[in-house]
Symmetry: D3
Subunit: 135 residues, 6 copies
Amino acid sequence: MTTVAPVPDPESDPRVKAVFDDIRRTRGSDFVNLLWRHLAFDADLLSSTWAEVKAVMATPSALDPLTKELVYVAVSVVNGCGYCVHSHTAAARAKGMTAAQHADLLRVVALAAKTNQIATALQVPIDREFDAAQG
Amino acid sequence: MTTVAPVPDPESDPRVKAVFDDIRRTRGSDFVNLLWRHLAFDADLLSSTWAEVKAVMATPSALDPLTKELVYVAVSVVNGCGYCVHSHTAAARAKGMTAAQHADLLRVVALAAKTNQIATALQVPIDREFDAAQG
Amino acid sequence: MTTVAPVPDPESDPRVKAVFDDIRRTRGSDFVNLLWRHLAFDADLLSSTWAEVKAVMATPSALDPLTKELVYVAVSVVNGCGYCVHSHTAAARAKGMTAAQHADLLRVVALAAKTNQIATALQVPIDREFDAAQG
Amino acid sequence: MTTVAPVPDPESDPRVKAVFDDIRRTRGSDFVNLLWRHLAFDADLLSSTWAEVKAVMATPSALDPLTKELVYVAVSVVNGCGYCVHSHTAAARAKGMTAAQHADLLRVVALAAKTNQIATALQVPIDREFDAAQG
Amino acid sequence: MTTVAPVPDPESDPRVKAVFDDIRRTRGSDFVNLLWRHLAFDADLLSSTWAEVKAVMATPSALDPLTKELVYVAVSVVNGCGYCVHSHTAAARAKGMTAAQHADLLRVVALAAKTNQIATALQVPIDREFDAAQG
Amino acid sequence: MTTVAPVPDPESDPRVKAVFDDIRRTRGSDFVNLLWRHLAFDADLLSSTWAEVKAVMATPSALDPLTKELVYVAVSVVNGCGYCVHSHTAAARAKGMTAAQHADLLRVVALAAKTNQIATALQVPIDREFDAAQG
C-alpha cells in the first residue's frame, strides 16, 4: 500500500540514476531503499531531498555520525514515522549503536516525552535563568 | 499563568525538601527550577519524576551525558514543549554543547522532521532489509 | 498577540449574541472566555463549534462529565494547546477534580506518552489477541 | 517487522521471568503481550517500565481503573501509537467499557483535537480567570 | 486488525443505510470506504461525522475543493494518520491533483515541518508586526 | 525569552547581510522578522534555510502562492508552532486570504484533525481501492 506508485524503471531517467548512483557510492552498498524509489516520481524532490540528507548526515560536522543518527531516530519516534524509525534504527546500528545504547536511547526518549507532558499540563512559566538573551 | 498554583513554602514538607536537597546536591547548584516547584503540589509525583530524571540523566550509562541532553532537546522540540526546550537547551550548554553543535542539532532535527513527513505522505512500505527479526 | 483581531462589539451581531447567551445559560455564569470572543470573527464557525461542544460536553451521555473533562485535558496536553490545557483544567476543577485526581491524571498521561514512544521505537507487531475483528 | 529482534527464550533470564510472572499474576492471565516480549532485550528497561505500569494502572488510586484506561487510549490515539491504541482499547473493554462509552470517548477525543487546532490557529491569549496562581 | 469489529450487515439499520446512501449520492459512486463501515458501530457518531464531512468538504465554500483536500492531506500527514493520508490523497487526485502538484504539496509540508522545528527550538519571540490585534 | 541570544550586529557578517538583503528584495519590504535574526547565530543554517524557503514559497510552481501559504499554516497549527502560525497567517493575509477563507481553513484543519483521531482510534484497515500501486 502506498500513495504514489513506484516508477517501473526509475533509472531510465538520468537524473534519478545520478541520485541512485550517488546513494550507492556514499553508502558503499548496492541497496537503495524504498523511500528513494518512491521519491523517484519527482526527480527534483528526490534530488533535493537526497542532497540535504547527504550534506547533513554523511558529511563530517560538529556532531559525530552516531549522535546524529540517535537524534534522527528520536525525532522519527516522536513523529510516529514507522518507516523512518526502521530505516534510521538500522542506520544507527550500522554506525555502531549497541543494544545497551539502544535501550538508553529509549529511556531518554521515553523520559523526555513524559516530562514534556507534565510541563505542558502544568503550564509552568519559564525560569528567567534559561533565557539566552539575558547572557 | 499556570494550571497549578505553586505551593507557598514547599520545603516545609519534608518529602519535598528531601527532593529539592537532592536536586541541589546532584547539580551542585542552589537553583531549583520552576518545574520542580510546581510539581511540589504532589510529593509523590515530584519524587518519582525526579528519581527517574536522576537515574536516566545524571547517572553514567551507555550514552554520554551530552548525547542524552541533545536527544532530550530533540524530543522536546518535536513535542512542542517550550519549557522543556528552554531547560534542556540550557542543560546541554552546561554540559558543553557549542554553538556549532547546536546548529548541527537543529539541522538534524529539521531534516528528520522533513523526511518523516515525506515518508508518511508517501506511505512507503518498509524494506524487508530493515526488519530486525530477519537478523 | 493573536492571529485574528477580536471583534469590537461582537454581540451587536444577533447570531453571536445568541451563542454567547447560550454559553452563559448553559454554564450558569456571565463569563464568556476568549476562545469564543475570537471565534466571533465568523458567526458560522462560532455557532457550529459551540453547538458541538455543548452536545458533547454539556449533555448527559455514556461517560460522566468529569471523565470527559479529564480526557479533554489529556488530549489538549498531547496536542500542546496551552489555551485548551488552561481552560479544560479549570473546567475539570469546576466539575470536582481534586488535586489527587489531577496528579493521577498527570501520571497516566505521562506514562502513556512514555510507553507510546517505546512501542513506536520498537515497532512492535500487534498481538492477534487485540484484534476486535477476531471476535 | 520490528526494530529489535524478539529474544528467543526470554524467560531463561531470571529477571525477565520475574517480570513476566508478575505480569501474569497481576492480570490473572497467562497472556504476555508482545510489547513486553520485545522489551526483554533489556531486562532493566523491561523491569522499570513494567514497575511503572503496575504502580500507575494496576494499583488503586484517585481515579478509577476504567477512567485511567480511557485517558491512556486518548493519549495513545493523539500520539498515533497503533500498538498502544490496540492494547489499551482491549484493556478498557476488559475493564467494562461499553460500545456507547467507546463512541463517547471518540467524540470527546475528536472534539478536543478539533478545538485544539482552532485555539492554536487563532493564538488566543489565555484568560486571567484560568490562572491557578491567581486563586 | 481493528479496535472495533465491523458490523456484519450495517445497512439493516435504517440510520446507517441513510448515511451510506447519502455518501453514495454525494460522491456519485457505489464505493463506501472502510472508515464509514467501521463507524457504523455507533449510528450517531457515523451520522454526525458524515454530516460534518459533507458540509465542509462537499459544499461550495470560500476555498475551492482541491485546496481543501490538499490541506486535509497536509494535516493528516502531520498527525501521522495512515488511513487518512491514503483516503485524502486519493480524493485529491480524484479532484484533479497532478503529480507535480503532489510533489509541490510534499515540498511545502516538509519545509513547514522543518521550520516549525527550528522556530520551536530557538523559542523565537513573536514579532509585534504579526499581531492582528494591533491592526 | 529565547534559547539563542540574538546576534548584536548581525549584518556585520557579510554572509548574514547577503541573506537579509535577499529577504528584503524578495519580499519588497525592509522588515526582516525575528526568525531570521535568531538564525543569524549560524550563517550556514540561516543561508540554507532561507534558500529553501525562497525556492519553495517565493518561486512559481505547480501550486499557487496562496494555496502554499494555507498548507503552511495548517502544518504549523498541527505542529503547535505559535511563531509559525503567526508569521504564516500574516503571509497568507498578505497574499490575499480573506476572513471567509481563513474561517474555511480552520474548518478543514479542525475536521481533518477530528477524523484523524477517529480513524486512528478505530485502527481502520486501509481500503485496497486507495493503493496507488494497484494502478
